[in-house]
């Protein structure tokens, strides 16, 4: 459909493709240009309004009244297009419909609820690290650690059966690609979509889940009438959609940060209290979730540009997290910095409900590594994995020295 953009003539415009292979391989130059061009940049190729500065991105994330999620948080506008899967009741919903599912999931994944998992996850991390180091001190941080650890602990915590878990990463990879335009990355996932979706949906039913995991707790909330039984499977689906790839790439980010900043590893070992800061600082720096869209619910004035009602807004979380207007020396991984306030988990009513889970996974893995590893460095070419939304690696060879 040809549309005539109703932009003000003042808004900077760009023909760039933020979802093309060049930008996905290295987004930083594009993000710098985006931030420097202005508070809002119109992306002609996709008819969207992009923002990369911290202030604007933070404001858009928190202003759910003007920047809605129910018309989709990808390029696809649910006002005009059918979603590829039934919309998420968390991610792709606004108040009032968003309220009940959100409060239920927040409680299940909240800091209090995770206390009971702490010891087990720390023990699992130690086991995995011992396994990996037992084989060699040269290994792949992604293929041996960051892709493995979340899959060891999270599906169990959800209550999934053992079979079929290898479907989780491909499902997540496609779904995060699908927030972008229907480019090659989306098309490559198309052949398996139906099969993977069917599998994921089958994992959300009450009879398949164990009776005390996160999934069961969603069903318990339905029994208590906090949500409906019709809503329960889709809420469990959110756990499986958003809970795996994100943590895999978050852990990849923190391992990469340390492998490329050896003095920070030494610092961490000397001050274990920095573990939490380390993960959030790595999430800030790499922003595993790089972008999300919103849709304008009315004409919105952003820094002098009017974004018309119904238009898509593309928020660059990764760019905001490296905005020199907000962060000193933003491209440095620095454990003396306070990364609080980064938007790697979003902000506001849609802020990542799983952030405490992610932090616990990282704390456990870093704890286990700190105990055994004196130094860590990159040992070969790192290979990125391209995804329309996620900042990811396919391979990260590292070499460690034992403590």
């Amino acid at each position: 459909m040809m549309t005539t953009p109703t932009t003000s003539t003042d808004v900077p415009m760009s023909q760039a493709d933020p979802f093309g292979p060049e930008v996905l391989e290295d987004p930083l130059p594009f993000q710098t240009e985006l931030r420097d061009a202005g508070p809002v940049v119109y992306l002609d190729r996709y008819d969207v309004y992009a923002m990369g500065r911290y202030e604007e991105v933070h404001a858009a994330l928190t202003d759910w009244q003007s920047f809605q999620s129910a018309a989709g948080v990808g390029l696809s506008n649910f006002r005009y297009e059918k979603p590829w899967r039934p919309p998420s009741l968390l991610l792709e919903a606004d108040p009032p419909h968003h309220d009940a599912p959100r409060v239920v999931l927040e409680k299940i994944l909240g800091p209090g609820a995770l206390h009971r998992l702490r010891d087990a996850w720390f023990a699992d991390a130690e086991l995995l690290v011992d396994e990996v180091l037992g084989r060699s001190t040269v290994f792949d941080a992604v293929q041996d650690l960051s892709e493995v650890f979340p899959l060891r602990v999270f599906p169990d915590a959800v209550g999934l059966p053992a079979e079929g878990r290898e479907n989780l990463l491909p499902y997540g990879d496609h779904l995060f690609n699908a927030f972008g335009p229907s480019n090659e990355l989306v098309q490559k996932g198309a052949p398996r979509v139906a099969e993977l979706s069917a599998w994921v949906n089958s994992q959300c039913t009450r009879d398949v889940l164990t009776d005390n995991g996160f999934g069961a707790q969603v069903w318990d909330a339905a029994d208590k009438r906090e949500i409906t039984h019709e809503q329960a499977p889709t809420i469990v689906r959110s756990l499986l959609s958003a809970g795996v790839d994100t943590t895999v790439h978050g852990l990849g980010a923190v391992l990469y940060a340390f492998a490329t900043n050896p003095e920070q590893w030494t610092r961490l070992r000397g001050n274990p209290g920095l573990k939490r800061t380390a993960f959030d600082e790595a999430v800030r720096l790499e922003s595993p979730v790089q972008t999300f869209f919103r849709t304008a619910t009315t004409d919105i004035d952003v820094g002098g540009t009017v974004i018309p009602d119904g238009k898509k807004i593309l928020m660059f979380l990764g760019a905001a997290n490296r905005d020199p207007r907000r962060w000193d020396d933003p491209d440095a991984f620095d454990l003396s910095r306070n990364p609080s306030g980064h938007v790697g988990f979003g902000m506001g009513i849609h802020q990542c409900a799983g952030q405490h889970v992610a932090r616990l996974e990282s704390e456990a893995l870093l704890s286990a590594l700190c105990a055994r590893v004196a130094s860590i460095e990159i040992a070969g070419p790192t290979i990125r994995h391209h995804n329309n939304t996620l900042r990811a690696w396919e391979s990260m060879p590292v070499r460690v020295t034992l403590a």
């Binding site: 108040p95 009032p96 906090e226 409906t228 306070n338």
Partner: protein, 323 residues
């Protein structure tokens, strides 16, 4: 000045300003509250209440009865109670527009859950949490009815606002309709209908009696008798001690614990700075927290072993954190 120290937009806001004060009925005054810096207030859902900390340090809970699509304002409705402890009389008679009040929460113990049908029963000032609920029930396309009981039409607030809902709302002043008969509105518990009630104890006691055997979650009730609070909120400094490092920091009245620690070089990881996300959670080893967050329920608050220092403060002279 570095970018990070210059950036103040995410500083915790502790006090709100009374923007507007309106006597809306015989006995009920509304207050509209805003942040002094004009920024967004913490998000809330229908049924939420806030802790209002008055200038003398006393704390009262009031339901939010405004429009959550206006993120810059909270509205509460205060019933002037003759036999109360004086807080409501102070608010209605004395507290002026422009005054500053302290904020805790919002918290929600009275959530609107999904339902095909709703029956809202409000007694007196119990109407306040129901106003955003009926607005929301409309948006959810649910079938709903509101029964509003009160002394007389002069005492019953918000009748003008409720007019737009036509006959979905039954206004039953006692001087016109006589004593309210719950039995004419509620019989058996129905799976497709959630009943929400808020009002005086006598009304709610009758509801508990009548609906006691109903399946869980069909009747939801919020009591409007203010709970006994502890000592008045302190307005003098307190100490926060970090057990593991032995460091001790003084927290001044206008400063959040997180900001006080930050000034002393201690960086606690935070995120929302509003007491909603849970990131800054700390374990409390000693002392009595003054909880201002939106996360902990009453039992968890009473336990006192965890708190969220981005917004919460201290009742005792000292808190010891396990940090």
């Amino acid at each position: 000045m570095s970018a990070e120290t210059a950036f103040r937009a995410d500083a915790s806001e502790i006090k709100l300003r009374v923007e507007k004060k309106v006597r809306v009925s015989n006995g009920v005054t509304t207050l509209t509250l805003v942040r002094p810096d004009g920024k967004r207030l913490p998000d809330w859902t229908p049924g939420s209440h806030i802790d209002l900390v008055l200038p003398d340090g006393t704390t009262r809970q009031y339901s939010l009865c405004g429009d959550r699509w206006d993120p810059h304002r909270y509205r509460i409705g205060v019933l002037r109670e003759r036999d109360g402890r004086g807080g409501s009389a102070f608010i209605c008679d004395t507290l002026p527009e422009g005054a500053m009040v302290g904020l805790g929460g919002p918290r929600n113990n009275f959530r609107l859950v999904p339902s095909e049908k709703y029956l809202f029963i409000a007694g007196g000032i119990g109407i306040t949490p129901m106003l955003p609920m009926v607005q929301q029930a409309e948006m959810l396309d649910a079938e709903w009815q509101l029964v509003y009981i009160g002394h007389n039409r002069h005492s019953m607030a918000f009748l003008d606002e409720l007019e737009r809902y036509g006959d979905r709302v039954s206004v039953l002043p006692k001087d016109e309709c006589g004593r309210f008969l719950l039995s004419s509105w509620i019989r058996e518990g129905r799976d497709d209908t959630k009943v929400y009630m808020c009002g005086p104890a006598s009304l709610l006691d009758e509801a508990h009696d009548r609906c006691g055997s109903w399946p869980t979650g069909l009747l939801r009730v919020e009591h409007f008798v203010p709970k006994e609070q502890g000592a008045p909120v302190r307005d003098d400094p307190f100490e926060v001690e970090l057990a593991q490092s032995g460091l001790s920091v003084t927290v001044a009245p206008e400063v959040s614990i997180v900001d006080a620690l930050k000034s002393a070089g201690i960086n606690l990881l935070t995120s929302c700075k509003q007491g909603t996300c849970g990131t800054c959670e700390v374990a409390v080893l000693a002392g009595e927290p003054d909880h201002r967050d939106s996360i902990l329920d009453d039992d968890e608050r009473a336990c006192g072993d965890r708190m969220f220092p981005c917004v919460s403060r201290s009742c005792s002279d000292r808190l010891i954190f396990d940090l």
